[in-house]
Symmetry: D2
Subunit: 398 residues, 4 copies
Amino acid sequence: MGSLSSLNSICIDGGCFVKYQDGVKNSMVKKLCVRASVAKSVPQNIEIKTQRSEKFRIGVLGASGYTGSEIIRLLASHPNYQITLMTADRKAGQSIGSVFPHLVRQDLPDMVAVKDADFSTVDAVFCCLPHGTTQEIIKGLPSSLKIVDLSADFRLQDVAEYEEWYGQPHRAQELQKEAVYGLTEICRPEIQNARLVANPGCYPTSIQLPLIPLIKANLIEMKSIIIDSKSGVSGAGRGAKEANLYTEIAEGIHSYGVTRHRHVPEIEQGLSEAAKSKVTVSFTPHLMPMSRGMQSTIYVEMAPGASTEDLYHHLRHFYEKEEFIVLLGKNEVPHTRHVRGSNYCLINVFPDRIPGRAIIISVIDNLVKGASGQALQNLNLMMGIPETTGLLFVPLFP
Amino acid sequence: MGSLSSLNSICIDGGCFVKYQDGVKNSMVKKLCVRASVAKSVPQNIEIKTQRSEKFRIGVLGASGYTGSEIIRLLASHPNYQITLMTADRKAGQSIGSVFPHLVRQDLPDMVAVKDADFSTVDAVFCCLPHGTTQEIIKGLPSSLKIVDLSADFRLQDVAEYEEWYGQPHRAQELQKEAVYGLTEICRPEIQNARLVANPGCYPTSIQLPLIPLIKANLIEMKSIIIDSKSGVSGAGRGAKEANLYTEIAEGIHSYGVTRHRHVPEIEQGLSEAAKSKVTVSFTPHLMPMSRGMQSTIYVEMAPGASTEDLYHHLRHFYEKEEFIVLLGKNEVPHTRHVRGSNYCLINVFPDRIPGRAIIISVIDNLVKGASGQALQNLNLMMGIPETTGLLFVPLFP
Amino acid sequence: MGSLSSLNSICIDGGCFVKYQDGVKNSMVKKLCVRASVAKSVPQNIEIKTQRSEKFRIGVLGASGYTGSEIIRLLASHPNYQITLMTADRKAGQSIGSVFPHLVRQDLPDMVAVKDADFSTVDAVFCCLPHGTTQEIIKGLPSSLKIVDLSADFRLQDVAEYEEWYGQPHRAQELQKEAVYGLTEICRPEIQNARLVANPGCYPTSIQLPLIPLIKANLIEMKSIIIDSKSGVSGAGRGAKEANLYTEIAEGIHSYGVTRHRHVPEIEQGLSEAAKSKVTVSFTPHLMPMSRGMQSTIYVEMAPGASTEDLYHHLRHFYEKEEFIVLLGKNEVPHTRHVRGSNYCLINVFPDRIPGRAIIISVIDNLVKGASGQALQNLNLMMGIPETTGLLFVPLFP
Amino acid sequence: MGSLSSLNSICIDGGCFVKYQDGVKNSMVKKLCVRASVAKSVPQNIEIKTQRSEKFRIGVLGASGYTGSEIIRLLASHPNYQITLMTADRKAGQSIGSVFPHLVRQDLPDMVAVKDADFSTVDAVFCCLPHGTTQEIIKGLPSSLKIVDLSADFRLQDVAEYEEWYGQPHRAQELQKEAVYGLTEICRPEIQNARLVANPGCYPTSIQLPLIPLIKANLIEMKSIIIDSKSGVSGAGRGAKEANLYTEIAEGIHSYGVTRHRHVPEIEQGLSEAAKSKVTVSFTPHLMPMSRGMQSTIYVEMAPGASTEDLYHHLRHFYEKEEFIVLLGKNEVPHTRHVRGSNYCLINVFPDRIPGRAIIISVIDNLVKGASGQALQNLNLMMGIPETTGLLFVPLFP
């Protein structure tokens, strides 16, 4: 993607993005990235601030979890942001260093309960709270705030689907309509104008980044997309659960949530919109002994006449100006280890033994491109800051 | 399976095994388990020995690798076998405790070079040598010896295929014809009468155990069998390779040998014979941080009218008398951790979101049911000893 | 050890065990192994049972934790025991396979709440409950039962010390007096006659096995025994705690409970009794990413004139008839991996750079020799069964 | 440390650094940081370059190992350096992305054989070559180059000691005299004026940082310093060795090189110079399953009258202006996980149970503060760049 001209050429094929660029909304087709309410322009105070080269003041809601601490890590060296508020209800009153000793050197305010937070002191928030709770909190935030929400609460356009998969009614449906889906490389124009961004899930990120361009270009069939994903354990959060103890995870692998993982509707929403028809995928996540990292091995049937080279070159061309999406060279296999701690997504395409099928592999760090890194990438866009600012970490290996 | 009557009922469905049982060979169809030369009866000296309740004398060729040491572990408490010969060319003259300190308490002869081995002192051998070398060694063994070969040298019936995948001519083609494929629960009658058993690869074991019965029962389609396997590192052996260093494996996952793994022809051979037509599968192995363990997540299209319940019940019935093949209860997910160190294979069947498809998951310990454990199971059969003898280890967890 | 003659020779040096053998108790010196009440002889019903070669009926109290499941693993192949009762309050009504899927093949009764247990159906129990609770439960058990208690409740002779370290009064002081300390190789004669055995902690086992013989032989100084221990995570149990999550443990190490770990008084009790004077040790445990295993690296000052060879040869001689205690050869370093899943303790002695000092290294599997394996070893002794029965598992490597 | 005034106050106590500051060398006492030849001033071309705010051109010799790749990772975001030369003999002609795929996004020259390197194109080099080889290479470099050597070749002042521990004569003794020991926080003034810095080993860094200030302040006794260190596996390099395979390292721990590790003379050199007398330490390294990280647990006897509070406060004061040395709060235990990927060293002091003794714990990332990070810190000093430039990475957790 990366340029209007490449976007145009895609949109001629796919027929979906072209209108976004001239600002006209197509209200007849549900959109992945843009919702009913029109995104607003950047507020005044933000423009002024940038001119003065002051830092934006950032709040991190739910700073005691792994996505919260990852936001803090990424912002530590960011030239444009300064954390001025951190909330964590059960750890209110504590310093970040006592909750996350690896952050002991960060000079940050103590955490407060969210009910005690003064939101007049921040320009934007990252919301790292559990689904359900999130809706209520965000509903109560000042409307001047820019918000990147890392929960699942605003990812699904269809409220009924939310209620089916999350087992509870949605209590902030107006906000849901406003929210823009934050798959950065796909929804960039909408994110730039958004006030509330629903940051994608980790699995959906690793899966939609390779598949959406291929679907839009009609290079793959919709009927048997089979996705076998492998995730590190940090995706399960820092909550104390028997199933996530070291002794229960080390030296083994298992599938979980077979066919019933809550990321399914999010994945199918994105692919369906790209395909302009309802897509049902096979999705089986696996939990394995790594703290960070995610691989999706995706088995697809190619469109008649399409070859793995076609798939590869389309993806390579589509992402050629993107910093964070890397199509590896021929036969090079993506490893999760090679993106650890970074915002990169490595992708490659392989021929299958079954004629007409291809194997697509993508890897990300579930806490960075799969969560806090993409969230920062989105806030950069929302704030008018160069998108890669504060995100050019080299992966940590070994 | 486990009894002739259940075998019969299977063979009525599948039409394949019935002739083996009355000793008539069907020369027109290539067989997975039986080859051209007729398997012999148990030699005299073995019968005598059993009567005297002496122990059979066992040789382990290639005792300095992981499959060799696993044979030694399993035999340590076996009531009918005694290791009297161990070979390891580069470690000749060393004690097993110096090569594998966890075996320091085993009272065993020192290792010798294979060229110095006296094979008149053994009744049977486990051959744990690399492919290629294996053919030459086995060709030179006394014909009175029972042999279980853990290499790939005698697994493929088609010599041309062997040469294509292993890049070298086969130099023991007569033996290859004699060899019986050692997938115990499937090929039991032939193994009982075999002199030379080609022990299956780890991936093929985890894949064929669930798929062969389903294929024979016409419950799944052959055209899009997609297999995503995850293996522990011991499958790569004990050779010093940069790629298998702790630092290169820990905390990550990657695919390898995409579409080109050498277990592919073995898998397709077994499935093709079950299907009585050439089957091509999609097979992608992954390497991950566990020393032992293997999961195959298998995505299949069901035959018209078949349901996941049908698949489940057929497998459950097929294996109901087997000690080592366990169909888990509804919704119970097999974990590799739950078979560690044991000869068990846990299997379950799940519905897929895509209508008409099912997900089959099987887990084994790659060094036990995937190698040395199945090898011992086979030798027990060959020697007329109860099949589970010395194999009823409870998995080690955590 | 292992024979009266070797015991005698030790006791001539150490002056401590000799009286036990002729049944005379020395009431003036506190004893590690024997308490105030005289141990009873084996009850009648047990003798009868052995003659009839029936199996003893075993209860496992607290079967839903790691030490409980390990007892079940070890008993699965034991020829003399049969589990007839399992308790687990929070998992009452569940099968063992649902709580520990690796035990799915075990044909065992469902778990019951301890209050619902019928103790008339068992001959002996392993008590795998938390400290505190344990006292109350054991107090209520029929006095005919043989009991091996894996908690800390009966390990300390000094009630005041128990209360200081465990922060609660001891509510079963009579039982505490009766309890025999279960460090098998050191306290064998007393264990044989015991009704209630207090099974040692994992750290104390790994530390006392090498140190007690050296102290009794006056080969080391008492004033600066420095113990640096490293433990696997299963020692922390199966309780859901943030600190034991995979993400908090993998790829790192840290000390914990520095100078305040609750195994300190147990270690000092054993060493003090051997030294016949109060010994204070430096003890620092570390938690590291392994599910099973424990190493104690022990730094000692040798007695004037003693050499590392003296230490080594004394230990080698002392344990030469023991199955489970292995003095490795010169320069061979014990690895925890080499005892995984087994009841072995590997020990070696190294010279230090500082003249007059030595380094002693011992490794065990914390769940086997450090808990359930030693518990079974003790019950074998209490029941008059050969001590190593059901315990000769070869370590699982890799 | 961090300022001359604090240095002065230390030197009044310790009597060692004061002369360095006024440029007078004390030829009678061997110095840790400064050698026979006087360090030169910063060369002209460097001064000019800084004024023009061009980037210094950097060579990385031995770029295919872990310390080399870590240098590249750290320099990727460094504002003052640009890598213009990378050597790797066996991988000459390859791109860095093919050797280290996590660096695929780095725009760097291909690697060349060291014999083909054009050193006129660089201002400074990091030398990441094996000991032995290093001497020869560095001897041949232009004398205008600034060099930070990460090997052991120039760490030991005493050539005889080098030859004893490394088993070969030293072939660059003049350079050895010139080399300055690069323990940054201790030897800062000398490093600033050095042309060739011998970067410390990882163990010596973790050990000397807490001990040297305490020794200089006469707070601990020299006679029984007992050091139990635990290292991640990357310290062993990327060479293919059986002992470092995943299967040989995972889920276990073992000591190695007991009393004979090659870092011993380096540790004793530093402590001896601080103590102004020959110090012999007990040093036992352990290898454990983590890719990065190192903990040293150090057991010391305190000087008469000294308390753990004294030790703590002295270290806290000594390092209070240092960015990278962090004295944790009371009872806070350093974890290796909390410095992963960063240049920090966390230290704390604990009372021991044995009266008069203390336990000091320090943790570092062996590849950063223990190797490449400290090397960069040193080059920053040598180049007149603010010392922390490019090093303020927040640790990566989990």
